[in-house]
Symmetry: C2
Subunit: 165 residues, 2 copies
Amino acid sequence: MKVSNTVEWAIHCCALLAGLPEGVCLTGKDLAEFHGVPHPYLAKALQTLSSDGILKTVSGPKGGYNLAKMPNKISLLDIVLSIEGNSSCFECSEIRQQGPTALERSNSYKQPCLVAGAMWKAENVWRKELDKTKLSHLLERVPLEVDPRQLKKAQNWLKKKRPSN
Amino acid sequence: MKVSNTVEWAIHCCALLAGLPEGVCLTGKDLAEFHGVPHPYLAKALQTLSSDGILKTVSGPKGGYNLAKMPNKISLLDIVLSIEGNSSCFECSEIRQQGPTALERSNSYKQPCLVAGAMWKAENVWRKELDKTKLSHLLERVPLEVDPRQLKKAQNWLKKKRPSN
């Protein structure tokens, strides 16, 4: 059971975009360069985030990607579900309806399987926790937890990419 | 991000074994038959559960698998981690150490990445929830949530398999 590494890239990209000065965008190539990840794979993830209303694309010479909503309106869950899809981690194959003890009519099974119910309950707790964490919460912790030398390098990199901002 | 369907089989097998009368075992073939799942795949999962101390094997003509611990000492988390492995669902590839803003020394990164920290926090909440649910909790709910006709069929099946019990 693994979250794909594209999720990691997607969250980092969204967090970076959340921290940009008002109106500044970055292209897919910029985002790939900043994070040292392959552009073709990242581009697909950015398109997905865009079609799910998490990112927006801005056209023009200074265009690129930006957040489609405020950082306090985008949660880690939004990003995870956009990249991984919204289906449950636990797929109930209804094995209680297989084998020699199965009831003949499938409509005899009115309640969800006990096992599936317990697994889904835990998954909902996980989803709620991810939904509580917004991009704005990550941003607040950047000055406390990211090395100031790295923040400086990021600012310099951005100045080169978007000299007028 | 998916839990493998072997997890579903494994939890159902453990729950069934938890509900057996004292001293009764079932073989891997019995468990596969009861759940209508392919024996070779299930056998591998049962061996894993056994080597992780969740199941035990009893030899002799009435032998087979049984729980290695009381049902209130085995959680869904124990079973999930046995089948899926104990590694985190979110693997941090340290992309903050990639690209043009990375610091030269990797020992500059003393704290975990903010993104990974948030993902792991949510995973821990999921794990705790799974750990709270013991096999004994599932058993308590069987008479309330499983159709009595299915329970009767299960008892009859067991009588045929283990006539002396």
